[in-house]
């Protein structure tokens, strides 16, 4: 008996986890309960977990191997697997306010690599008293919401994902140099078969998808817009208000998410710590895995 309670918070996506103190070691049963909740609800939330980066990493290791913080960005000091999600860093990188830049739109984490992270664990250190919510969408529900002809259509498509700078966005020379020095480009199936649940997910990551393979640029643009509209339909989403010590743990194989959109005029700090778990190479409905184009896989961090 783990004493963990799973409370769904929307019709398709998201559940609050109650009755867990992450300062203490989890039992195997606890881990199994949390994993099952994650697989079912795609993102699970914890409140008031006042833990250190090391404790966050220990928690993450119960579910997989942490990756280095990010292929192109720096980790926090002393914890190579912890990525700071800090508005000040982003504002420096992008030369000002960030929320309206295209790159901050809906995305699945790091899909530019051949093996995008399996899961992401994000914990709030300091957040504004209001504003700065994150929204997740359930890509399995979005796939299942397609009509039969469009499911079959999508299942045969592949898309090229890359880490790139959107047109017209001023970026610091440091980030630009890193992107240019280490291009990350991969081709993934548009419909991904989840390695644990066998569910099919509409695996399009708006920030990273460049084009659909094998169709004209115009067709690609229109198809992508259709799929983006599909995955961002409110019915598949959940929106989460952060507090200090809040944790969101999402299945990065079955979700996309949207960062804060409404904090440019709020001066409060917004600082979170993210750890991502090593993911496998996506596989399409036809059994064909993703294809690497440029860059290395995102493997386990060396601790």
């Amino acid at each position: 008996m783990s004493g963990i309670e799973v409370r769904p918070v929307s019709g398709h996506t998201g559940a609050d986890i109650v009755g867990v103190d992450l300062r203490r070691a989890l039992s195997d049963a606890d881990v199994a309960t949390l994993r099952a909740a994650l697989l079912q609800w795609k993102v699970i939330f914890f409140r008031d977990q006042h833990i250190s980066p090391a404790e966050q990493a220990a928690f993450a290791r119960r579910f997989g191997q942490p990756t280095p913080a990010h292929p192109l960005r720096d980790s926090i000091e002393g914890h190579p697997e912890v990525l700071p999600i800090d508005r000040r860093i982003f504002e420096e990188e992008y030369g000002g306010k960030t929320a309206r830049r295209d790159i901050d739109g809906w995305h699945t984490d790091v899909t530019a690599v051949i093996n995008p992270p399996a899961g992401s664990i994000l914990r709030a250190e300091d957040v504004p008293p209001y504003g700065g919510d994150t929204t997740w969408t359930n890509l399995v529900a979005a796939y299942e919401g397609l009509s039969a002809p469009f499911k079959r259509f999508a299942e045969k498509l592949r898309a090229v994902h890359s880490f790139h700078l959107p047109d017209g966005v001023a970026v610091s020379s440091k980030l630009r140099e890193r992107i240019e020095a280490k291009p990350l480009v991969s081709e993934h199936p548009v419909v991904r078969v989840h390695p644990e649940t066998g569910e099919r997910a509409l695996f399009v990551s708006p920030t990273f998808v460049r084009y659909i393979v094998g169709v004209s640029p115009e067709e690609s643009r229109r198809i992508i817009n259709l799929f983006f509209q599909q995955i961002t339909r409110p019915e598949y989403t959940v929106r989460f208000r952060w507090q200090k010590g809040s944790i969101a743990f999402w299945d990065n194989r079955a979700t996309s998410h949207l960062g804060p959109q409404d904090i440019d005029h709020i001066e409060h700090e917004r600082k979170l710590h993210r750890i991502t778990l090593v993911g496998d190479i996506p596989v399409g409905v036809d059994g064909v895995p993703s294809r690497p184009i440029q860059g290395e896989p995102l493997l386990a961090a060396v601790s």
């Binding site: 397609l146 009509s147 115009e218 259709l226 599909q230």
Partner: protein, 330 residues
């Protein structure tokens, strides 16, 4: 009318669609070989044009009848010409009376009368009085448009069907308008394959148009809207089109199973008279890639005889069945 025996000349006007036919006087009766050549040019070029034809309604009807049975003027035409019930006037003066100022029945890209379960096989349009400049019509080759899609999209749409209805935008218009009220009260609706297999050439054509296609059936509203946007853009691509400038006596003859067209777009700021006369050939029921035929949802087959509700209006005219008889269609 004498018998004309001639070798016709077919001059393509664009790479995918449209050819001008020279050496034919439509006032004369054509021999079978000439008719066969015109038909071959029509099937290849989808729309053929004749210039300087000094003909009236009777000759237009006689020529058209060599290619098939003629329909009555139009499913919603309740004031047909007294002597020529097959003739549909495309007449700016009549539009003024019915709708206010406009120059065509449908001012977006469309294929004629696809709200009927059997849209006309072909249309023959003759210009009587047209502005010296402006008022062009543009045709698009729907076979070339289909072939220009990527294989993935073609595979998707080969299995889809769409609803076509007459008066898509009328709901938002003046509800007191008597003509539009009649259109609303007698809805004409059909479901056609999105990809039609041409009954003569067996070519696949993209059979949707902004004028009459309301939605794709069996998919979500979002999917339908986004896909139709893509397909509508495809049929209107300049690559697949030809644009024709009318003169008095110009005749355009298009394969309505393989084309869409766009009426005049540049006359709204002018006050000009534009009068053309159209006849349409009775068409068959479209068939999709899967062999399944179109489905009639509302209204009647668009054939030679007007439906019951229009019988009185057409009864005042010479009966359509008295029109010059068509030869048996191939």
């Amino acid at each position: 009318m004498g018998q004309q025996v001639s070798k016709i000349e077919v001059r393509p006007l664009a790479s995918h669609v449209g050819a001008e036919i020279r050496g034919v006087d439509l006032a004369a009766r054509q021999d079978d070989a000439t008719i066969a050549q015109v038909r071959a040019a029509l099937l290849e070029w989808k729309v053929v044009f004749f210039r300087n034809q000094k003909i009236g309604h009777a000759e237009q009807i006689a020529f058209a009848s060599r290619f098939g049975d003629l329909t009555y003027a139009h499913p919603h035409e309740d004031q047909p010409l007294a002597e020529f019930p097959e003739i549909l006037p495309i007449d700016s003066r009549r539009f003024d009376q019915r709708y206010g100022k406009r120059y065509s029945y449908e001012n977006r890209w469309h294929t004629d009368v696809t709200a009927a379960v059997n849209p006309p096989a072909a249309s023959i349009l003759r210009a009587q009085s047209v502005p010296e400049y402006g008022g062009d019509t543009t045709w698009s080759n729907l076979v070339a448009a289909y072939e220009g899609l990527s294989p993935a999209i073609r595979e998707l749409i080969d299995g889809l069907r769409a609803e076509h209805r007459f008066g898509l935008r009328f709901a938002a218009q003046d509800s007191e308008n008597a003509y539009l009220k009649k259109v609303r009260e007698n809805p004409l609706v059909a479901i056609h394959p999105v990809v039609r297999v041409h009954p003569e050439t067996q070519q696949r054509g993209l059979f949707v148009s902004p004028g009459f296609t309301s939605h794709i059936v069996g998919v979500s509203r979002l999917e339908s809207t986004r896909l139709l946007d893509l397909l509508f853009e495809q049929i209107a691509k300049p690559a697949y089109t030809v644009r024709f400038h009318w003169e008095p006596g110009s005749v355009a003859f298009w394969d309505n199973r393989a084309t869409a067209h766009l009426g005049p777009q540049d006359l709204q700021h002018r006050d000009v008279e534009r009068v053309l006369y159209r006849v349409t050939l009775v068409g068959d029921v479209p068939v999709g890639v899967d062999g399944v035929k179109s489905e009639l949802i509302s209204g009647e087959v668009f054939g030679a005889r007007p439906p019951e509700r229009l019988r009185a209006a057409y009864g005042k005219t010479r009966a359509v069945s008295d029109a010059p008889r068509a030869e048996v269609r191939p």
